[in-house]
């Protein structure tokens, strides 16, 4: 895997498109393994497109594109400007709030970030937010989604670590709100320092606000109705993207009457390149992760951590720091499957609570999707926002720090995670 990693960096440096850099360097692993069939890279690439959970990604990109033509985005923006108009960096606050609301709906950080980049990204740039800052918050705010129930990461952790999924669902809620608060404060601080002006300096006349609220009702109902559909069993988390597309299109055609067959087709046409760029990267990265899994790299290194200290907090902080570092290169799903069964018993031996550890572990692992040099969600937002990775990275540092601060707080005060599940399910 050393050659693979080295090749990946060299290819990145010479300006190779990231998707190909990941695919080509990953394929080098198979050159060193003559015993393995040479068709595995093809098979794994195709296999990614047979994963029903990933199907939500193209659908949410389409939904974002259609929202722009169906009048939903414009009305949402008008409404947002009424609510957050006096806040600095208003739209950045909107994307955080939207992720917290949409989290329970899409459950997929990549799908959520991609859709919101499509919907809000252009307008954020028009309002003179720096590209790196806008792209970073569009990405990092989606970190909230996997811990708002029913996130797929929690189901995964629950089954790998034999932890109650219901308790995990309940345990995610307060940390999600905490992440919202942390990101929101970070945005305010940055906006103040950079002098992003509020959109308005004075109160709106009452009529304006009412008008915006009435206009925005269908946009506001979007996450609400999807959530209702999900909770009432009309559809499952994996299917939700299709319902998002249908809702946005129906509102555009029938309610706002701003969309016709032609503009609908144009919206879909405009999403094709984004779908291709994001999905090609995700598909090809399956080649890259194969070697990491087969050589059990994270497992091998994790052995060194276990036994470094006997204090629960010390062990948890070490584990999470390790997960953050490995997460630079490895996808969250792989991290959860490989490392949860190793670390959970260690934590439990020191009387750590599995639900508490699960939530902080999922957040730490998911951060990996947003950090360079390998991060599917990061490349998804950067592609749609046409933002260079280095600009994104500079913009992301404050949000990375904010997220880590939340993780540390959760480790130090487990009750923040646990009081809700304890209240609902008993201790």
């Amino acid at each position: 895997m050393l050659i693979v990693t080295l090749a990946f960096f060299v290819l990145m440096v010479i300006g190779m498109p990231v998707a190909f850099a990941i695919g080509i360097s990953g394929a080098l692993f198979f050159l060193q393994q003559p015993a393995l069939p040479f068709t595995i890279p093809v098979q794994r690439t195709v296999s990614q497109t047979q994963n029903f959970a990933l199907l939500a990604i193209p659908l949410f990109i389409m939904a974002g594109s259609l929202a722009n033509r169906s009048g939903i985005t414009q009305r949402l923006l008008a409404l947002a400007s009424v609510i957050t108009g006096r806040l600095r960096g208003g739209l950045a606050q909107v994307t955080i709030a939207l992720s917290a609301m949409m989290g329970g709906v899409s459950g997929s950080a990549i799908a959520d970030a991609a859709m919101q980049s499509r919907m809000l990204g252009g307008e954020m740039l028009r309002r003179n937010l720096a590209r790196g800052f806008a792209t970073a918050i569009l990405g990092f705010s989606a970190l909230i989604t996997p811990i708002v129930p029913p996130g797929i990461g929690m189901v995964l952790f629950g089954s790998v670590g034999q932890v109650s999924v219901g308790r995990l669902f309940a345990g995610g809620i307060v940390p999600a709100l905490l992440l919202w608060l942390a990101f929101s404060l970070t945005v305010s601080l940055i906006a103040r320092r950079r002098g992003y002006p509020p959109e308005r300096s004075s109160r709106l006349p009452r009529g304006e606000a009412g008008k915006a609220l009435r206009g925005g009702i269908w946009a506001l109902l979007f996450p609400v109705l999807l959530l209702v559909g999900l909770r009432s069993g009309v559809f499952t988390p994996s299917e939700i993207g299709a319902f998002a597309v249908a809702y946005v299109a129906l509102v555009g055609f029938l309610v706002h009457r701003e969309m016709n067959a032609r503009s609908g087709a144009e919206a879909i046409e405009a999403s094709l390149a984004d779908v291709g760029a994001v999905m090609l990267l995700i598909a090809l990265s399956a080649i890259f992760s194969y070697g990491i899994v087969m050589e059990r790299l994270p497992e091998a290194i994790s052995g060194a951590i276990v036994g470094q200290t006997q204090s629960l907090i010390g062990v948890e902080l070490l584990i999470l720091a390790f997960v953050l570092v490995i997460g630079f290169f490895v996808d969250a799903t792989v991290l959860i499957i490989m490392l949860a069964p190793i670390f959970l018993p260690v934590v439990q031996n020191l009387d750590g609570d599995p639900v508490h550890f699960g939530i902080v572990f999922i957040v730490a692992a998911t951060i990996g999707n947003f950090t360079p040099p390998v991060g599917a969600a990061m490349y998804a937002v950067c592609t749609i926002m046409k933002c260079p990775v280095e600009e994104y990275t500079r913009g992301a540092v404050p949000f990375f720090i904010a997220a880590v601060a939340v993780i540390v707080l959760l480790v130090l005060v487990p009750e923040i995670v646990l009081f809700l599940p304890d209240a609902i399910f008993g201790r």
């Binding site: 219901g166 499952t236 988390p237």
Partner: protein, 308 residues
């Protein structure tokens, strides 16, 4: 051990179960015993939770001769040699004793030969019994008629769906990861699984009733590449098979114990277990699955050979 033992062999063994499942411990036991008996010349590296890839992909890699193994079931092997899928049919194989007899059945041996010769798939052993599958629902069920319109999650393969349809329910193909929230939101009304699946997935939180139908006994197969297997010294081949059977039988017993434990745990947590069901009606209904799948002849032949 013998003089042939110069060369070293490695088998990477993949399975979809979690690391806490009794079968994972069983695979590790198999690996340990084989390594010990071959003085470390044949090692098995076990990967849980489908880390190396989805089952169907791995089976194709095995067919191409990779030194990879996979724990799989009769339904998937039936994609290559259709007759084998009868083992996965309703109310046919019902105990470990049945599986033992299956090992000596001529038809079964012919199918295995065909898998190896025509498709490059070597069955090492199939003494791994995951246990009886039951219906787990949110409503009381006593007979096939009660299952009408009840949406039950099944693995996404026609053989499963046909079996569940024959028993009266409406089969829903769904990823296992969606089952918890699917049950919670009532997108589905139930699932059909073995007891330890329910506790492992925390599904007891969103399910009220167990209907102890025992409609399918899930038998697992350990499959490796036929060409890789042929390349092993004969002694190693024998050790690999023997230890597979020993570890499998032990894991099956542990699985049985785990099922009782899981059942007790679920009952303690408030699950109602329904045992007064019309077993004859379920059995009769199950027959339709074999007809729908064109497997009636294969079933009858195999049934005669194992004396059922």
């Amino acid at each position: 051990t013998g003089a042939a033992a110069q060369e070293d062999f490695t088998l990477r063994f993949n399975h979809v179960l979690g690391p806490n499942e009794p079968f994972h411990q069983g695979f590790l036991q198999w690996a340990e015993n084989v390594e010990k008996r071959t003085d470390g010349h044949l090692t098995i590296d076990v990967f849980h939770s489908a880390q190396l890839g989805v089952e169907e992909d791995i089976i194709e890699q095995i067919r191409q001769g990779a030194n990879i193994g996979q724990n799989t079931d009769a339904a998937r092997l039936g994609n290559y040699v259709p007759g084998i899928s009868v083992i996965n049919g309703p109310y046919f194989i019902e105990s470990m004793a049945d599986v033992d007899k299956l090992n000596d059945a001529a038809t079964m041996q012919a199918w295995q030969q065909q898998l190896a010769d025509d498709y490059g798939l070597q069955v090492v052993c199939f003494d791994w019994v995951q246990g009886k599958r039951h219906f787990f629902t949110n409503q009381e069920i006593h007979a096939p008629a009660d299952l009408k319109g009840v949406r039950v999650r099944t693995p996404p393969a026609p053989i499963w769906q046909e079996s569940i349809r024959a028993l009266g329910a409406a089969p829903v193909a769904m990823d296992f990861g969606d089952v918890y929230s699917g049950l919670q939101s009532r997108a589905i009304d139930g699932a059909e699984l073995v007891y330890p699946n329910i506790t492992a997935g925390g599904l007891g939180e969103v399910l009220d009733y167990t209907i102890e139908t025992g409609h399918i006994t899930l038998v697992n197969f350990q499959v490796v590449s036929a060409s890789w297997f042929a390349g092993l010294p004969e002694e190693y081949q024998r050790i690999l098979v023997e230890e597979c059977r020993t570890a499998g039988q032990e894991a099956s017993r542990r699985m049985e114990a785990a099922a009782s434990e899981a059942k007790a745990q679920l009952q303690e947590d408030g699950m109602t277990v329904i045992t007064d069901i019309d077993r004859e009606a379920f059995r009769k209904a199950g027959e339709q699955a074999y007809e729908a799948l064109g497997l009636s002849d294969a079933k009858q032949r195999l049934a005669e050979e194992i004396g059922k």
